[in-house]
């Protein structure tokens, strides 16, 4: 149900990310893990990640969650924002505290998805070394 308007910058309207594929994912999902997996691969989540920083996503999601749902299509952007937050660096404790503080009680699978995101956020130490070439005798 995209309006066709292209919103640039952090203020991405909820309609811009309630794409047909994201809506389909929300409608056909039978488990929270299926929904999270589908949305993570969805262009709507990529679009959010390309245009918004994690604090901006948290702010917009918090505002959306505070509003009562009037239309079923309003649920889709909330799941999209939540799925986008699964990419937050596992070592960024400040951001994770903000994610954990979100009130997801109005989102049916919000809490199970957040639990999955937290469980999958395993910190990784990634290093690279180039060893010195051996000296020729």
């Amino acid at each position: 149900m995209d309006t066709g308007k292209t919103t640039i910058g952090p203020a991405i309207g909820p309609r811009a990310i309630a794409t047909a594929s994201a809506m389909e994912a929300v409608l056909v999902a039978n488990t929270p893990s299926f929904l999270l997996d589908r949305l993570r691969k969805d262009i709507a989540v990529q679009y959010v990640l390309d245009n918004m920083s994690p604090p901006e996503i948290i702010k917009v999601l918090r505002e959306a969650l505070a509003r009562p749902v009037q239309d079923v299509t309003e649920i889709v952007p909330r799941y999209v924002y939540l799925a986008a937050l699964s990419t937050v660096d596992p070592q960024d404790q400040a951001l994770w505290q903000q994610i954990l503080s979100l009130d997801l009680s109005n989102l049916e699978w919000g809490e199970p998805i957040r639990r999955l995101m937290r469980a999958e956020a395993v910190p990784t130490t990634s290093l690279e070394f180039e060893l010195p070439a051996p000296s020729v005798p």
Binding site: V122, P123, T124, T125, L127
Partner: protein, 139 residues
């Protein structure tokens, strides 16, 4: 603390979206056409479990040994968030190996655990020489 696994592979990656780990071309042995040789790329991968609930940072030390001779040592910071798991992915480029034998990667976390893996480096030229000098018995 417990080591879930430790292994060497040609490469490994963590998916940007799902944070899932993929390991490609696990190295169980390395046949060298001649020695000494430089192994172009090896990725050491280990997953370590913490028995503590809270997050913690520890410092480990990773050493590479060829037949127990040290080749390289480096300090590795390891972060546990909310206890549970921590992953270590270390890419090495150009590991010099002078002689055939086990190439051992040992990640030691002081007063905790050691994640160790090894693969055998064999000298194919030497194998061929042995086969030529010992003719097979035919009936």
């Amino acid at each position: 603390m417990r080591v879930q696994f430790a292994l060497c592979a040609q490469s490994a990656s963590v998916d940007r979206n799902s944070n899932r780990l993929s390991i490609f071309n696990v190295i169980d042995h390395f046949p060298a056409s001649s020695l000494p040789i430089v192994i172009p790329a090896v990725t050491f991968v280990s997953v370590i479990e913490s028995d503590r609930d809270e997050g913690t940072n520890v410092k480990g030390s990773l050493g590479i040994f060829s037949k127990n001779h040290p080749i390289f040592t480096v300090e590795v910071p390891i972060t546990f968030v909310n206890g549970q798991l921590a992953r270590v992915l270390i890419n090495f480029q150009g590991i010099p190996v002078r002689e055939a034998g086990p190439l051992t990667f040992r990640l030691t976390i002081p007063n905790a655990v050691t994640a160790e893996t090894a693969f055998q480096v064999s000298n194919l030229a030497q194998h061929e020489a042995i086969q030529v000098s010992t003719p097979s018995t035919q009936v």
